[in-house]
C-alpha cells in the first residue's frame, strides 16, 4: 500500500515536473542555436553557443545590467525583509484595534493597479531630483505589503509561550525579535527572501520609467531591448534570458535547504 502510494506520488510529480521544466530545457537548447533555427522550431542542440554569447555581450551591456540588478535585488531583499518581518510580527504579537485598521489599509494598497501610480510617483521623485537614481527604485520597494502580510500570517503559527518565557527571563522586545523569532522562523525568511528577490529582479515597469540612462538599466530592461528590434536575433535573446533566469534559480537552490529543516515527522 505504501509503495503504491509512493508510486502514484512519483508519477504525478514526474509528470508535473516534466511539464514545468520543458520550456526551461527548450531555452537551454535554443541558446545553442542560431536565430533562424529557433524561429523554425528546432529542438536539438546546435553549435552557436559561443557565437550567441559573444554577440550578446557585444550588443548590449549585459554584464553591467546584471550587476545593477544584483545590487538592487540584494539591497531590497535584505532591507524589505527586516522592515516587513518586524511589522508582520508586531501585528500579531501586539494586537490592537488600531493596528488592525492600519493593517487593512496597508494591504489595500497592494490592490491598486500599479499603472495608476506611475505618473504621481514619477512626479514625486522628479521633484526631489531622484530620477535615474537607484534610491527611486529601492525606497518604494522596502515597504512591500505582500511581505508584511506573509510574515503576519506565518507569525500566527509562532508559539506565543516562547515569547512569554523570554519576557519573564528579562529579554527586551527587540531582543526577542532578533534573537528568538528570526532564528526560529528560518523557513519563512528563506521563502520570503526568494519572493522578495524575485519581485525585485523581475521588476520592470517602474525601473523603466525611473531610469534614464542605459548604464543604469536593470537586466530585464536590457534583455527586453534585445527582443524589441524588429529583426531580433533570438539566439542573443536566449542568452540574455538564460542569464537573467539563473540568479533566481541560484537563490532558490541555496535557500532550498531551509525548507528541509523542521522535519514533520512520520505522517503515515
Amino acid at each position: 500500500m505504501k509503495k503504491i502510494n509512493y508510486g502514484i506520488k512519483h508519477i504525478v510529480l514526474s509528470v508535473v515536473s516534466f511539464i514545468s521544466i520543458f520550456p526551461f530545457i527548450w531555452m537551454l537548447i535554443s541558446i545553442t542555436n542560431y536565430s533562424k533555427d529557433i524561429t523554425m522550431g528546432k529542438l536539438t542542440f546546435g553549435y552557436a553557443l559561443i557565437d550567441n554569447v559573444t554577440k550578446a555581450f557585444a550588443t548590449a551591456d549585459i554584464g553591467r545590467a546584471f550587476w545593477n540588478s544584483t545590487q538592487l535585488a540584494v539591497v531590497i531583499t535584505i532591507t524589505s525583509l527586516i522592515v516587513c518581518s518586524l511589522a508582520g510580527y508586531a501585528f500579531v504579537i501586539f494586537p490592537s484595534k488600531g493596528k488592525n485598521i492600519i493593517f487593512m489599509v496597508l494591504i489595500a494598497s497592494m490592490m491598486v493597479p500599479f499603472a495608476a501610480r506611475i505618473i504621481p510617483m514619477f512626479r514625486m521623485f522628479a521633484s526631489v531630483n531622484l530620477l535615474n537614481n537607484y534610491l527611486a527604485i529601492i525606497l518604494p520597494a522596502i515597504g512591500a505589503p505582500f511581505l508584511v502580510f506573509y510574515f503576519k500570517q506565518n507569525t500566527h503559527a509562532f508559539p506565543v509561550e516562547t515569547i512569554q518565557a523570554a519576557r519573564v527571563d528579562g529579554c527586551k522586545e527587540y531582543q526577542i525579535f532578533f534573537k528568538i523569532f528570526m532564528p526560529m522562523m528560518k523557513s519563512t525568511y528563506a521563502s520570503a527572501a526568494i519572493f522578495a528577490f524575485m519581485a525585485s529582479w523581475n521588476n520592470y515597469m517602474w525601473p523603466l520609467i525611473a531610469l534614464q540612462s542605459n548604464q543604469k538599466f536593470t537586466l530585464p530592461l536590457t534583455v527586453s531591448n534585445l527582443a524589441a528590434g524588429f529583426n531580433p536575433d533570438y539566439g542573443i535573446i536566449m542568452v540574455g534570458i538564460v542569464i537573467s533566469t539563473l540568479p533566481t534559480v541560484l537563490v532558490f537552490f541555496l535557500l532550498q535547504r531551509q525548507f528541509v529543516e523542521g522535519v514533520i515527522g512520520s505522517v503515515k
Binding site: L13, S17, A87, Y89, A115, E173, V260, V267
Partner: protein, 294 residues
C-alpha cells in the same frame, strides 16, 4: 507596583507601534500618496495633458463602455477558473513534497518552481509555438485522432482563454506551492507524533492538523492570487494580445491601452484602476468572510 505595571504596558504599546512604523511609513509615502493623487486624476477628463476637472464623469463613462465590461467579464472568468485549480494543485504538490520518505524531493521542488523564474518572453514564444496551428499539441491530437483538423488555439475565443489559464497555472503553481511547503515546515513535528500516538491516521492528521494550521496561509495565497489575477497583464499581452478581438483582454490591458496605446486618457484609466481596486477589496472581504465561517 501599579505604576511599574503601567509603565511596562505603555512601553509595550510603544514598542509594538515602533515596529510597524518603518513599514507603514514607506508604504504610505510611496503607495498611498500616489494612490490619492491618482484618485484626483480620475476626476479629470481630457486627452493627454489637457486635463480638466469633471467630477465623476469618468466613472459614468465606464457604465456605457462595452470594452470595459468585456474586460471585466474576462478577468473575472480567469479568476474564478484559474485560482481554485492552481491553489488546489499547489496544495496537493506541497503535501506530496512534505513527506521526508519521498526520494528526490529537492529535484521535484526545483523543477516545479522553475516556471516561476522562466522568463515570460521565452515561454511565451514556446507556448505560442506549441499551440500553433502546426504545433506540437495539434499534431499530437491529430495523430491520436482526437480531432480531424487543427484547432486554432490562439485564434479561437474559447481556446485562447483556455491557453491563458493553462499558462497561468503552469507558471504560478510552483510559487504558491512554496508558500504551503514553507508553512507546513513550520508546523511542529511533535504535534504529529502525538497524534500518531493517539491513533490518528495519516488522512486524519492531514485534515485535522495540517489544514487548520494552514488556514492563515491559504487565506494569504488566495488573496494574493486574486489580486494578481484580477490585475493580469503580462501573460495576456504576450500570448494572445487580448485577442481574438477582445476575447481574452483583461482590465489591466485596457488600462494600459488607454494610457499608452491610444491617445492617453489618464483620468479615465485612473478611474478604471480605482474600480479594479474596489472589486479586489470587495472580493477580498468576501473571502475573509468565507474563511471565518469555515
Amino acid at each position: 507596583m501599579v505604576r511599574f505595571q503601567l509603565k511596562t504596558k505603555e512601553k509595550k504599546i510603544l514598542i509594538g507601534w515602533s515596529m510597524i512604523l518603518l513599514a507603514a511609513l514607506f508604504i504610505i509615502v510611496f503607495s498611498y500618496i500616489p494612490m490619492v493623487q491618482a484618485f484626483f486624476l480620475s476626476l479629470k477628463t481630457g486627452k493627454g495633458a489637457n486635463l480638466t476637472f469633471d467630477g465623476f464623469s469618468n466613472y459614468k463613462r465606464m457604465l456605457g463602455d462595452a470594452t470595459f465590461w468585456v474586460t471585466i467579464k474576462n478577468t473575472l472568468f480567469y479568476a474564478i477558473v484559474q485560482i481554485p485549480v492552481m491553489l488546489f494543485l499547489a496544495l496537493l504538490l506541497a503535501t506530496f513534497l512534505n513527506d521526508p520518505g519521498l526520494k528526490g524531493r529537492g529535484i521535484y521542488r526545483t523543477c516545479i518552481f522553475l516556471p516561476c523564474v522562466t522568463s515570460l518572453v521565452s515561454y511565451a514564444i514556446l507556448f505560442k509555438n506549441i499551440f500553433a496551428v502546426d504545433g506540437l499539441v495539434n499534431n499530437l491530437l491529430i495523430s491520436l485522432q482526437v480531432i480531424d483538423s487543427p484547432i486554432g488555439f490562439v485564434t479561437d475565443a474559447f481556446w485562447a482563454r483556455v491557453i491563458i489559464i493553462i499558462a497561468l497555472v503552469w507558471r504560478h503553481t510552483g510559487y504558491y506551492m512554496i508558500f504551503y511547503l514553507s508553512a507546513m515546515q513550520n508546523i511542529d513535528g511533535s504535534i504529529y507524533e502525538a497524534a500518531q500516538l493517539d491513533g490518528c491516521s495519516g488522512r486524519q492528521q492531514f485534515l485535522k492538523i495540517t489544514v487548520p494550521m494552514l488556514k492563515p496561509i491559504v487565506f494569504l495565497t488566495s488573496v494574493m492570487a486574486l489580486n494578481s489575477t484580477l490585475q493580469l497583464f503580462d501573460e495576456v499581452v504576450n500570448l494572445t494580445n487580448g485577442g481574438p478581438g477582445n476575447a481574452t483582454r483583461t482590465i489591466s490591458e485596457y488600462i494600459y491601452d488607454l494610457s499608452f496605446n491610444y491617445v492617453p486618457s489618464y483620468g479615465y484609466s485612473a478611474a478604471i484602476s480605482y474600480v479594479v481596486f474596489l472589486i479586489v477589496v470587495v472580493l477580498t472581504l468576501v473571502q475573509k468572510g468565507v474563511m471565518k465561517e469555515r
